[in-house]
Assembly symmetry: C2
Homo-oligomer: 258 residues x 2
DNA sequence: TGTTTTATGTGCGCTAACGCACAGAGTTAA
DNA sequence: TTAACTCTGTGCGTTAGCGCACATAAAACA
């Protein structure tokens, strides 16, 4: 009852076009969506979804703010981005990933319209296989970016170097890399000397060999152990989103190509 | 001639399906794309595009690595993500943004297949308005994430607090915010005391007033001046990608809804 | 061959941010 | 009015990373 009263009260001052995305749609599409949009309160601290949850709704804020943040294994966190009336929460739904590695938390109370994800997907599902594959890849890329942000905030140069080596090696299918410490420093956004020191420590521990622009990983297991969680998170999410790329003929459960 | 020899040599050992995304497509779609895929060398250090460039091609690496990195005004940089045979360079093209705020740099030499962007867009352009709007929004969100990563690496707590306040206020259409320093610290991934000190300094400079969970911006201009470039970058890119959201009837040049 | 260039190693002082501890000050509830 | 709780202010020792300067070593070149 309170709920209903609330909604009624809110309804008089909220309308879907308060959200910029809904407002940007043609009247035709707006009309099609309108019956499926439901105004819901967004109280401070509400968690729209946790890392790994399968999303059910798209949320279009009218006057609330929602933070996307990544929560680390030790509990500390970092905001990855912030969404208000300018956007929506739940890109993973139409991207095809169904879930993300982040948490969505209401940071400033207000209202939002929500739309059943299936409705949004119906709009998209007529479309091509290429599109859906590209969207899933984009989500994997987004995950990598988000994790980079987290890593920059919380982890040591040595940990980041480990992550970086692993990500690079995965893309070279080997254990050898042609790359100077100077360039790595540029990539990580740190001092060259910092990379030198970290590389020296890794060498002492028997994890890598290197000399003038060449790096060889001699103990990959240990490298993974010394890396922060960021590598594993990105790897797992990428594998989840794009699993069938090596054995395409029999794509597993997740409908990658559709 | 050298070029041709190179291609010939490469052609015998490279095939489009060396790229995971191309490999994941159905044979039917692969056949359709095949005539338009061109194998090109990717020498170390080659810049595929600079921040702001209009992209012309999608690149599908077979055995090279490409870094996406953001270059700051002072010239220092941070890698945002890394792409190899697992992905493609140029999501901004099919996302609809045409350009990004990052630079794409070949970090490990090799080859890639490229595809004229228009070809990819043709595949998508039959599809709906809703789709295209969502894709553009996703690109704006990606920009925000990328900038968060850069900001975490290079800027002081005070600068980040300024950025954060501005991003939040833009979504509240006001100059007042209900938020404790503790929560802000969680968002930024820093100590609460760090936020206290930064807020104190901002107050001394007459930029903000605050008390127990309330913050009011008294001098927005100065706040913007004290913020790092990250706020302006995100704002400009968001405005570019989603410009017509307020005055929809006459959408400007950039075809937001199409 | 010797000379230049480029990559790596190391030391040193400096600073921003951290972790911790605790003191006020405002707010809520008994 | 007290008491409990929450938010903010402040101090202090520690540390990771920075900026700079310079030494050494390997590769490229003339």
């Amino acid at each position: 009852m309170l709920q209903t009263a609330l909604k009624h009260h809110a309804a008089v001052k909220h309308k879907p076009t308060d959200n910029q995305l809904l407002n940007a749609l043609s009247v035709e599409v707006q009309q099609r969506l309108l019956p499926h949009l439901e105004l819901v309160p967004m109280p401070l601290g509400k968690v729209l979804y946790e890392s790994g949850d399968v999303l059910r709704y798209e949320y279009f804020p009218t006057d609330c703010i929602v933070s996307l943040l990544y929560v680390m294994e030790n509990g500390s966190s970092a905001e990855i981005s912030v969404v208000g009336y300018d956007g929506l929460i739940g890109v993973a739904l139409f991207m095809g990933g169904e879930s993300t590695t982040s948490r969505a938390l209401v940071q400033s109370a207000g209202f939002a319209y929500r739309l059943l994800g299936q409705r949004m997907k119906d709009e998209f599902n007529r479309h091509g296989e290429l599109l859906h594959l590209m969207l899933r890849y984009s989500q994997a890329l987004i995950t990598q970016m988000a994790q980079t942000a987290v890593c920059n905030r919380h982890h040591s140069i040595e940990q980041q170097l480990c992550r970086w080596l692993l990500l690079s090696l995965d893309r070279l299918k080997g254990n050898h890399l042609v790359m100077t410490q100077e360039l790595i420093a540029n990539m990580l956004g740190v001092r060259r000397e910092g990379v030198t020191e970290a590389a020296g420590r890794l060498h002492k521990q028997g994890v890598i060999d290197y000399s003038r622009g060449h790096i060889t990983v001699t103990n990959r297991e240990k490298l993974e152990a010394l890396s922060c969680e960021c590598y594993a998170v990105v790897k797992a999410e990428t594998d989840r989103l794009l699993p069938a790329c090596n054995n395409k003929p029999a794509p597993p459960k997740a409908p990658v190509t559709n």
